[in-house]
């Protein structure tokens, strides 16, 4: 392994002489209970995220297939209904013909 730059060695050996941290390393009050409850208890946000990522794409695929099936199943009745509507519109109702005739006379 390469050697340290001498300046770094001097600085780091001096830094090692600094008094060690004396902060408590035990879990703060309630921390362990909270973490355990989050992890094993109710639904944590990370669980929702993983459920969404697991089923999101699959659900999208299923909904696309269902939409296509619905369109295929209703295609013929819809087209027939549109054709009937168009045919009905192309015929001029008798009342309208009478009105036009009366106007021209």
């Amino acid at each position: 392994m390469s050697t340290n730059p001498p300046e770094w060695s001097r600085l780091v050996s001096l830094a090692r002489r600094a008094p060690r941290e004396t902060r408590d390393e035990a879990a703060p009050y309630g921390f362990a209970t909270r973490v355990a409850a989050l992890a094993l208890g109710g639904r944590a946000p990370w669980m929702d995220a993983s459920l969404f990522s697991r089923y999101g794409l699959r659900a999208l695929g299923v909904s696309c297939v269902l939409a296509a099936a619905c369109a295929a199943a209703t295609f013929k009745p819809v087209i027939t209904a549109i054709e009937n509507e168009a045919a009905a519109l192309s015929e001029t109702p008798e009342e309208v013909v009478d009105t036009i005739d009366a106007g021209s006379a």
Partner: protein, 198 residues
Amino acid sequence: MSVDADADFDLGACLERVRARDQEAARQLVEHLHPLVIRIVRGHLPRRVLEEDLTQEVFMKMFTRLEQYQGSVPFPHWVSRIAVTTCIDHLRAQKRRPEFRWADLSETEAEVLDNVLSDTSAADAGDALAARELVTKLLDQLKPEDRLVIQLLDLEQKTLVEIRELTGWNTTLIKVRAFRARRKLKKLFEQLKQKERS
């Protein structure tokens, strides 16, 4: 309760109970491993991140991945690797590293750096604290992985084997990262010397 001191704690049995979704066992596991995790988190805490939040994230990851633990390494090593990677992810997310400038140093820090650059020994406790601050600021200039390796090697004086156990990286990778970190530090000191002269 600490991992080293508490020999009576039956980790295997506790893990079995946690796998059976026993909340009390999960609480005991967190309390048992907290000293180990908090030491890693405090040593590699990114700026503007609360140590409690980061510790909680480590434990949540531990519980999420518990099914993946095969027992090939001791459980505390496995957890320490999660802690290390979580810290590195956060350090990486900081993206922009603050520039190291003479102007930002306190009077004592500048004095210590001056002494270090000109090879004079500085010695009292205040100097040691300032030196530690300087070391942290210099380490901030390195890539998170390189920083971690050099901090463990030089500041905490861990062996390659200990670092391998802690991080899960192989020895060659650790050496490469140490080499890269030292090259960067050398460059930094050269720049600092030039700035000092100018």
